[in-house]
């Protein structure tokens, strides 16, 4: 460490953040459904790899597009994007697309230095909670008028507003549902998933006391993405109608109290080791409920095996005033400094085409951001995915803010103090409001 500290304090960042990221992931696609299609990730990979794009990707009219296009994508999407790139190149033979995969752990650093050094790509994926931060640098090209906002889920479109200007196009979305053990629920005398807040906590209690589980539920001790849905369900929000912070509204305090009640009642563990992976605990039955996105569908199937399939299910969010869930995902942005904006926007339009969106779903099971894509039989066909689709009709996301990284971190700190450090919900709400005022939500 002595020397390596001087050299590279940040080896840990990427290698381990991915390990650690499990539940608290910022931007999420869906599960790495194991498929090692092994597309070699060398630069400029424009070989027609084994995957069959099947001539999808609409009838793009611009056959006179040419030039080079560099696209950056993160995580799982990064490694599989060549599928879409190949399809695009097939429809536009004059364009050469090179995909550079970037690990989520280093995405922020890499993007920052790219913007600093003026070496940005033409197009890149951009997590919804990174839009504000990077949009503030003025690096994004505004979305051309011919891209129709109404084709996308409203809350997804809202995540691209940088300074009131649409600066990115939703690519894929994710939202959260309740995963729960049906067998443990039955044993506890519960026959249907929780419909209200009261149901939720009663179910957790029953599962722990009568269902034989170690805990009732698994809630994050310091994860704003798990707390906010409750805030929204109670009719509150991070900001009020005029855009000012509202984190200590009565609704917020009530939501915080509810969240804290699980910890106070011992229904969820107060100390969660860093890098904790819920999947084995869920399969084992220690934590019979948790909230997560579509990626866990595949993970649980893999971990649980064939005979586990009927022991669990997913359910929509419980309702207080509403049954709102969290919306995450990524947008596609084009950079102002791009030398090939025509091809860049054509590529973005291509990936937003419903057919391509359905193809993308088949490739990595990312939920389409385009509403029409949900009519595709493959997407509709899976009952679990359809549940996610239904939830997508009632979602909210965090405000687009240049300082979100810092504010969310402060909120997490306060959440931790409340859930594990004995801070009372009212004090926590006031602290969050204080941080929001000083750090800013714009």
């Amino acid at each position: 460490m002595i020397l390596t500290t001087l050299r590279s304090p940040l080896l840990a960042i990427a290698l381990v953040v991915a390990l650690v990221a499990a539940a608290c992931g910022t931007n999420n696609g869906s599960g790495n459904a194991g498929g090692a299609s092994g597309a070699p990730a060398s630069a400029g990979g424009s070989q027609a790899a084994g995957s069959e794009p099947a001539g999808s990707g609409a009838a793009s009219p611009a056959a006179n597009l040419s030039g080079d296009l560099t696209v950056w994508a993160m995580g799982n999407e990064g490694t599989k994007l060549t599928t879409l790139a190949d399809a695009f190149m097939k429809a536009n033979p004059g364009v050469k697309v090179s995909v550079t995969p970037v690990d989520w752990g280093q995405a922020v650093a890499k993007l920052t230095t790219a913007i600093a050094g003026n070496t940005t790509p033409d197009v890149s994926q951009m997590g919804t909670d990174m839009m504000g931060q990077f949009g503030a640098t003025g690096a994004f090209d505004p979305v051309p008028a011919d891209i129709d906002a109404s084709t996308f889920f409203q809350s997804a479109w809202n995540t691209n507003q940088v300074g009131g200007v649409a600066s990115g196009v939703p690519w894929y979305v994710e939202t959260r549902l309740l995963y729960y053990r049906t067998d443990i629920a039955t044993k506890a005398g519960i026959t249907s998933p929780p419909a209200t807040w009261d149901d939720l906590i009663a179910m957790a209690k029953a599962m722990k006391e009568k269902g034989g589980a170690k805990w009732g539920i698994s809630l994050g001790t310091k994860n704003w993405q798990e707390y906010f849905p409750f805030l929204w369900q109670n009719g509150g929000d991070v900001v009020d109608a005029s855009g000012n912070p509202a984190l200590n509204s009565p609704q917020a305090v009530e939501a915080l109290t509810f969240y804290d009640s699980f910890f106070k009642a011992g229904l969820t563990p107060k100390s969660v080791p860093e890098g904790f992976d819920i999947t084995p605990a869920f399969v084992k039955g220690d934590n019979p409920m948790f909230f997560s996105g579509p990626w866990h569908l595949g993970l649980i199937d893999t971990a649980g095996g064939a005979d586990f399939k009927d022991k669990w299910a997913i359910a929509p969010m419980p309702k207080k005033v509403t049954a709102t869930s969290f919306l995450g995902g990524s947008n596609m942005v084009v950079y102002k400094n791009s030398k090939n904006k025509d091809a860049a926007w054509a590529f973005v339009k291509f990936v937003s085409d419903p057919t391509t969106q359905a193809l993308w779903y088949k490739t990595v099971t990312d939920l389409p951001a385009v509403q029409a894509a949900w009519d595709d039989p493959t997407v509709k066909g899976d009952a679990n995915v359809a549940l996610f689709g239904a939830q997508l009709k009632d979602t909210k996301a965090q405000p687009v803010s240049a300082t979100w990284s810092e504010l969310s971190s402060a909120i997490n700190d306060t959440l931790e103090k409340m859930t594990t450090g004995g801070m009372e919900p009212q004090a926590a709400a006031d602290q969050m409001q204080k941080d929001a005022m000083s750090i800013g939500v714009k």
Binding site: M1, I2, L3, T4, T5, L6, P9, L10, L11, A12, I13, L15, V16, L19, V20, V108, A109, T112, I115, A116, N118, Q133, F134, A136, T137, G138, A139, K222, S271, V272, P273, E274, G275, A402, T403, S405, E406, S409, D413, E416, K417, T420, G421
Partner: protein
């Protein structure tokens, strides 16, 4: 000549051989040795460091990345803010805690092992040396995974062993009081090999004649360690003390990987806080200020160490 006198004579050979003063000719020779380093150093190390120093007087943020010159100057605001920043002081306290406990442990263990390897045993030296050095070269990824397993409250090896003797092991990394000691243990484990390597190299330079003289004088193993090894190793020990302290004051990887600064900021180090501010929140100006405050602390500590140990030569 008695052993102590021999040791004293050997130990004072360090002074530079002051050649007769030929003025510019001496300078030329000195600079000819120094130049390659100085040029590379000046451009790629000194310059960026200076730039970062300048940033600390600005509110350099993400918006200024494309136009660094345009960042707005805020004078000493960043430094003033630091003084009232509770999180910064907590991180400083944690770091000091880490250094005060970790440095002596690392050096002492390194010295003991180096001594055992060099003078205590004759066989399998290579194997032992390689073995002890392994943690130093193993990727932090693997180390993190393993140590998290070791410290896991439910099925980790340590608590399993404790259970065997009837002790209910705590949740090491989630307990604010135990998290830092766990980090210290991990860091010491990781760095002992490095200290060992350097001490072994230093011990190789001790002429065996001194040990012979000592044994003739009737010294036992402990005495020859105390009166021959330690004094002769003084420059090396000083070097290791300064290097280790400097390194440990910049503690980053272990808490970042294991606890992310938690629980409740119990393991947040200054460098981690700097990283958060600079790379997560993009307050590059503020982060630079933190870095330079840390730098001043490190410089003072190193200076004091030099003074204290050197004056006894």
């Amino acid at each position: 000549m008695t052993a102590p006198a021999l040791v004293r004579r050997e130990a004072t050979r360090g002074a530079a051989h002051v050649a007769p003063r030929h003025g510019w000719r001496q300078d030329l020779i000195g600079w000819s040795f120094a130049l390659p380093f100085v040029i590379l150093f000046g451009v790629f190390l000194a310059l960026p460091i200076l730039a970062a120093f300048l940033f600390s007087f600005t509110s350099f943020g993400l918006r200024d990345i494309t136009n660094p010159i345009g960042a707005s100057v805020v004078g000493v605001d960043n430094y003033a803010k630091l003084l009232s920043d509770a999180k910064f002081w907590k991180s400083l306290g944690n770091t000091v805690y880490f250094v005060v406990v970790g440095v002596p442990l690392t050096l002492a263990l390194g010295l003991v092992i180096a001594n055992a390897l060099s003078r205590g045993i004759t066989r399998f030296r290579t194997a032992f040396r390689v073995g002890y050095y392994l943690p130093v070269i193993t990727s932090i990824v693997a180390i993190a995974v393993v140590w998290r397993f070791l410290l896991n409250p439910d099925f980790g090896l340590i608590n399993l062993l404790l259970a065997k003797i009837g002790v209910n092991g705590p949740n090491w990394l989630a307990n604010p009081a135990l998290a830092m000691p766990s980090i210290i243990a991990m860091a010491v484990w990781r760095n002992v090999g490095f200290a060992m390597v350097v001490f072994v190299a230093g011990m190789q330079a001790i002429p065996s004649m001194l040990y012979e003289a000592a044994s003739i004088d009737g010294a036992g193993r402990w005495q020859s360690f105390r009166y021959v090894t330690l004094p002769m190793l003084r420059p090396t020990i000083l070097f290791m003390l300064v290097i280790t302290t400097i390194g440990y004051l910049q503690l980053f990887e272990e808490p970042f990987v294991m606890t992310n600064g938690g629980p409740l900021d119990a393991t947040l180090s200054v460098t981690m806080y700097m990283y958060q501010q600079g790379f997560q929140f993009f307050h590059q100006g503020y982060a630079s200020a933190i870095a330079y405050v840390l730098f001043v602390i490190v410089a003072i500590v190193a200076f004091l160490q030099f003074r204290f140990l050197r004056s006894e030569t």
